[in-house]
Symmetry: C2
Subunit: 435 residues, 2 copies
């Protein structure tokens, strides 16, 4: 089996110890902020029944799902019955439908976990990636939207990404615009899909794709003109539509709540912001930080989605942080240090038990300790390995030390070596390590 491909599958990654530490540090900061905002953790399985996920994400979603073959004899049929979750929102909505009676009222949840999309792999774009989601269920108030945006921006601030811009819109503003531009109803979904690509393909790209979608040239000209006009002009146009006015009002409500609380970052109305997914109904937002081409966070209100599972309309809104993009931005920072504090050398085979016993005593007080398990008897080899580990202290315990009921400690930074009574080892190390 020599010559196997040992790389991770296309679009996925392995994580070396340093990578896991960096990621965990980001997760724990985010978790801390979410809990400060009263969000509670919950979790769902990695896969769902296909019918739970199908037709929830729009044009692309269904194509990009990882589908799982039936098991046992049914595998032969080539049929699939499960799919890896594509986001954390749809599984959460199923969860809310299932546990309605067990959940706290006006439930605030958070969830941190991987999702899977068979997208074309790219820079900081992976097929397995982490989302950190928060949602508020059963609140139609703009306060809920504001709390979601504030929690996400606070998390970014604590991660030292303070110069964020929140771009805010409402799906109803977009609805009003399409109405005013006279876009035929049948084309509206497609037009939004295209406008959503604005930051990727630019104004020209949008123009061409709209024409390809058979949107009448006059309308395309108007949309392009709109995209390039000052926001104040757009507001005047949107106000001419009833839907547009509702959209503007809910957008201003959220903006006026969030704006006074932002310190370095800012929030602004962005009338052509779409958010890809189909299920949004009200205010939507994306958060950008300097240095990242695409949004590091986004979300919005989805007042009809829970109803599609339960038959009972329950308003909800939420948002999501993209950890990979954040990690890519933080990667210049100081990596977290990882090191064993104490390294116990092993004199020879007859001292293995003694080495374990010394380690056991130190570990009982949470001193992280490694016993040498390699094949070399030479002390110099063992000390070299300890140095490579960035261990702080080495323990030396051989026949001479044992006879005198002593133990040797070597400080690996200074190379200073001392001996002390064995029964003082633990207290001495606790002192040296400031524990």
């Amino acid at each position: 089996m020599k010559g196997n491909n040992t790389k991770p599958p296309s679009g996925t990654r392995d994580f070396l110890p340093q990578d896991v530490k960096s990621r965990d540090r980001v997760f724990s900061t985010i978790k801390e902020v979410f809990e400060n905002y009263g969000f509670l953790p919950m979790d769902t399985p990695s896969f769902e029944r296909i019918e739970t996920l199908n037709e929830k994400y729009g044009e692309d979603g269904d194509k990009l799902m990882f589908k799982i073959l039936r098991r046992g004899e049914q595998a032969l049929s080539g049929e699939t019955d499960l799919a890896l979750r594509y986001d954390l929102t749809i599984p959460f909505v199923r969860f809310v439908a299932e546990y309605q009676d067990k959940l706290p009222k006006i439930f605030r949840r958070y969830q941190i976990g991987p999702v899977w999309r068979a997208d074309r792999p790219g820079k900081a774009r992976f097929r397995e990636f982490y989302q950190c989601d928060i949602d508020v269920v059963d609140s139609a108030s703009p306060l809920a939207d504001a709390e979601v945006i504030l929690a996400l921006t606070e998390a970014l601030s604590r991660l030292n990404l303070k110069e964020f811009t929140v771009q805010l819109n409402s799906r109803k503003v977009l609805g009003g615009l399409l109405e005013i531009y006279d876009v035929p109803t049948a084309l509206r979904k497609g037009v939004l899909v295209t406008i959503d690509k604005l930051d990727k393909i630019g104004v020209k790209g949008v123009k061409n794709e709209l024409l390809e979608r058979s949107v009448p040239e006059k309308i395309v000209e108007q949309i392009v003109k709109g995209i390039e006009s000052p926001v104040s002009d757009i507001i005047k146009r949107v106000e001419k539509s009833e839907t547009g006015r509702i959209g503007l009002s809910e957008m201003w409500n959220v903006l006026n709540l969030v704006d006074p609380l932002l310190k370095i970052g800012k929030i602004e109305f962005s009338p052509f912001l779409v958010r890809g997914l189909d299920y949004y109904t009200g205010p939507i937002f994306e958060i950008f930080v300097p240095g990242a081409q695409s949004a590091v966070a986004g979300g919005g209100r989805y007042d009809n989605l829970i109803g599609s599972f339960t038959g009972k309309q329950i308003p909800a809104c939420g948002g999501s942080l993209g950890v990979e993009r954040i990690l890519a931005l933080l990667s210049n920072g100081e990596p977290p240090t990882i090191s064993t504090q104490v390294f116990v050398t092993v004199w020879d085979k007859s001292f293995e038990g003694d080495a374990l016993e010394i380690a056991s005593e130190l570990r009982s007080k949470d001193i992280s300790t490694e016993v040498y398990v390699g094949g070399s008897k030479k002390l110099s080899n063992q000390l070299r390995l300890a140095s490579e580990r960035s261990a702080l202290y080495c323990i030396i315990y051989g026949p001479d030390e044992k006879g005198k009921k002593e133990v040797g400690i070597k400080n690996l930074a200074t190379s200073e070596q001392t001996r002390l009574p064995k029964d003082q080892l633990l207290s001495t190390l606790l002192g040296l390590l400031g524990k």
Copy 2:
């Protein structure tokens, strides 16, 4: 879409907030112990190329894998190219092969994550479940096996599962036994698969299954007699085989290192312990605790596995804790408390911004704070929700308080309500919460 099935897929679970908290508490205890033992975190994707996993787990493994359909146009072929990981060992071995030059020497890793097996669901047996693995690479020393067992038992102890029994064997002891019982080489793998089921199907079940496998009756009688004999008799028999003697010696080496360090728990030789997976070569173990029918942990030495990927023989050993079984045992304990500390009521729409501002101040000092986002203006309704949340304090801030630059605090346990200058709110709450 009303009437959708909202349950999680068969064999999987959803986690309510309390469940996630319990699980996280177990994870963080385990992580702490593993780091005390000098193990470093690493991670791999949830799925692997099918050829990485195939033929590594023995008879059952290949059947129980969740396989993923190819994407795009290739989906039509019904072919699969990826599979969800079945354990954390094989992906780790691929990882070691790939990053040999980047990893610390004598690498100690830990990994905590879900694995997937399409097993028949049962009590505390799921199709998606968590494993907590540790492994030591590039050490042939029994010290490495001992460190693995000690770290796992220490984790169990810290989780208050102190009365564990480690059952220890060596694959070479089993090899010696099969030699002595004269089991034909072609039948040996199958015989081990059957003996592995001893704790599930009992001695009679083993006997019948061996006969079904066409093992000669005389041999079956000997195996059954062996299972029922005292360990001292088995040792005498095993010693007659060269392989058996090597196995006994490596088993004793590990047992004699671990035994003196166990306090309440114990370790014992268990000559018919098999461990299901194909890849073990030396010492193997399983850990049992009272109240659980099957093992809560297990592992062993797999000296040939890394070589099968790299062509270069690298000895290794490891072990795994099963979180689900541990959680089932702990479920009688006190559930962790989760509550928002402070609940900010909202007087009316014009006070929404003030409520957010108060919350923002408290959150900046890590006081977990929720702002009321529900639809009721009635203070009594808002206070009731705060009580349901087990919040400790409620903040009341209306026109009267605002006029006097004051703020109201209600202690929800005592119903005591006081007013204080608004600029003393943060320091007062920090004091009350002992922060």
